[in-house]
């Protein structure tokens, strides 16, 4: 079976520091893959290489068999790959609803129809669905910048699904989110995966969150994969314990 995402021998250095060294893995349709590792293990660099934000020194990235290495993020997004960022990335001056519509509008019609057509680019009902699904309905008219951190995280995640992407990469979705909101977020992500079959790759430090959410984990340390498998197995792996706890 062809993997939805194929990452092969990715390498990336910054000066003399090798951030990612020959990382390869596949992600299959409908999977929720977690990428974990201590600080500085190369997770975010790997993410940025996959998503075209950084050009890898070596290696290839394929989506549905198509080589997308170093493809611009906007073009990658139009091929059905979305992402969220480690630090919050909503548009504070736009309302919650406008943030959602913006997240999907470039996938609707042509540039000219976006100029002369409906203001919501025909995404009104899709935005409604997301507002309800992520329980943001009562905030739809609020400026995104006025939302709490947890609410902005929910909005950030909701935006990743507005374009109908089949593969979503989440960079520390649980970071800074309170426990109640965290359970909410995890439950929403699981529901989307279950109901629509969207595939996730998740970078996360919160072990409880990632162990509960992901179906498979890969563990990075010093830019290399040191373990891979089901969450329960990875948790017991001596190499992982050593990487996290040190000698």
């Amino acid at each position: 079976m062809t993997a939805l995402l194929e990452v092969r021998d990715i390498e990336k250095s910054f000066g003399g520091v090798q951030a990612v060294c020959g990382v390869s893995f596949d992600v299959h349709e409908g999977e929720i893959l977690g990428v974990i590792g201590p600080n500085g293990s190369g997770k975010s660099t790997l993410f940025n290489c996959i998503l075209g934000q950084l050009v890898p020194d070596r290696g290839t990235v394929r989506v549905n068999g198509r080589n997308v290495t170093a493809l611009r993020p906007s073009r990658l997004n139009r091929l059905g790959v979305s992402r969220t960022f480690q630090l919050l990335q909503v548009f504070p001056e736009l309302t919650v609803r406008e943030n959602l519509i913006l997240a999907g509008q470039e996938h609707r019609g042509s540039r000219l129809t976006r100029l002369f057509g409906a203001r919501d680019a025909g995404l009104g009902s899709e935005a409604d669905r997301m507002l309800d699904f992520f329980r943001l309905r009562r905030l739809e008219g609020e400026k995104a910048g006025s939302l709490s951190y947890g609410q902005q995280k929910l909005l950030d995640a909701a935006m990743a699904f507005m374009s109908g992407s089949r593969l979503v990469l989440l960079d520390e979705p649980a970071g800074g989110v309170n426990l109640t909101m965290l359970a909410d977020l995890r439950e929403r992500l699981e529901a989307i995966n279950r109901e629509t079959g969207v595939t996730f790759v998740v970078i996360e430090h919160n072990m409880e969150f990632v162990m509960a959410l992901c179906t498979r984990l890969i563990v990075l340390a010093e830019g290399r994969i040191i373990a891979e498998g089901a969450p329960a197995d990875v948790r017991r792996d001596p190499a992982v314990i050593e990487a996290y706890l040190g000698h």
């Binding site: 998503l51 934000q53 611009r72 993020p73 906007s74 997004n77 139009r78 979305s82 992402r83 960022f85 990335q89 909503v90 548009f91 504070p92 001056e93 736009l94 406008e98 519509i101 913006l102 997240a103 509008q105 470039e106 996938h107 540039r111 976006r114 100029l115 002369f116 057509g117 203001r119 680019a121 935006m159 374009s163």
Partner: protein, 322 residues
């Protein structure tokens, strides 16, 4: 504000502005209408507002920098003056001014794909100086410091616009159309993409927004507004020389947008109003006028960085809440 209300308010303002130079005493309203100079100042305000709308699109909505708007106004003004004197109809000159500045705007937008903020401002500043040098030194085509005189006002559908009130109405009509076009753009998904560009280009790109294309579009459209304003400026003043297209006026355009309210739709009109009308009101203070103007700008920047429209919006929102 809903689209319908915005349009209704716009239409009401349009009617009031259209009546500004008309003597209404004949129909029983005790209003003598603006005199020739007042009508000229109002026309200049409209032309300035068109160019400021372009700066607002580039700076206020798309978050880029430009110190070259006066240069684009100059390109439009010189092109119109030169070709209309050669017998080309004004309509063609107006369209050509818009098209040429649109294309040059795209070229000027390319540096914005590589550099940002003050570095980008310096690039546009260099372009502004380059244009001014061409206007001043290429005497064979621009007339150099002696400029181009006797630029005729056009006719519109066989209706001569020599009369100052007729020309004012003509400029008001074009300003209304250009205001509507910009209003449509900023309310469309394009406007949302421009805002995304200003607020977070990295995130916008990851959502499929072609940041390069929208950056170039913002520069091209904003510059074209400058070029078309210049095309109206030449027949308004009937004589052009390089001085109104130097770096100083470009800074003034930026200032108008900031004072009026960067990224607000009415900001350029308010800013242009202050830049064009305030010197007239403060004329009585003679040399003190520049000092008063400078202090006003500093107070605005220090206490109301969102500009006059931003301040008014805040006050109205507070009043609505209480």
């Amino acid at each position: 504000m809903s689209a319908r209300n915005s349009l209704l308010i716009g239409l009401a303002l349009l009617v009031l502005l259209a009546l500004a130079p008309v003597d209404l005493n004949d129909i029983g309203v005790p209003y003598p209408g603006l005199r020739r100079y007042g009508t000229y100042i109002l026309t200049l305000w409209l032309v300035t507002a068109i160019a400021a709308m372009g700066v607002n699109l580039i700076v206020g909505y798309a978050g880029q920098e430009t110190l070259a708007q006066a240069a684009f106004v100059g390109i439009g003004a010189y092109l119109t003056a030169i070709v209309t004197k050669a017998g080309v109809p004004f309509g063609v000159a107006f369209a050509a001014s818009g098209l040429l500045t649109f294309v040059i705007g795209i070229a000027l937008g390319f540096p914005a794909l590589r550099v940002q903020k003050h570095y980008l401002a310096f690039v546009t500043l260099a372009f502004s100086v380059l244009c001014w040098l061409v206007f001043r030194n290429e005497q064979w085509i621009t007339g150099g410091v002696m400029g181009i005189r006797d630029i005729e006002r056009p006719s519109f559908l066989g209706w001569p616009l020599r009369n100052h009130i007729r020309f004012y109405w003509f400029v008001l009509g074009i300003t209304s159309i250009m205001t509507f076009v910009l209003w449509w753009i900023v309310r469309s998904p394009w406007g949302r993409a421009f805002t995304a560009l200003r607020e977070n280009p990295l995130r916008a790109e990851s959502l499929g927004v072609d940041v390069r294309l929208y950056t170039l579009l913002a520069f091209a459209l904003g510059s074209a507004y400058g070029g078309m304003a210049g095309s109206l400026y030449a027949p308004l003043v009937e004589f052009i020389d390089p001085s109104p297209f130097a770096l100083g006026p470009s800074l003034l355009f930026m200032l108008m947008v900031v004072i009026g309210g960067s990224g607000t739709f009415l900001g350029p009109f308010v800013g242009a109003g202050i830049a064009v009308l305030l010197p007239e009101w403060l004329r009585a203070w003679e040399t003190w006028y520049l000092l008063i103007y400078a202090v006003l700008v500093m107070v605005m920047m220090a206490f109301f960085p969102s500009g006059i429209v931003g301040l008014a919006t805040r006050l109205l929102a507070r009043k609505a809440r209480s």
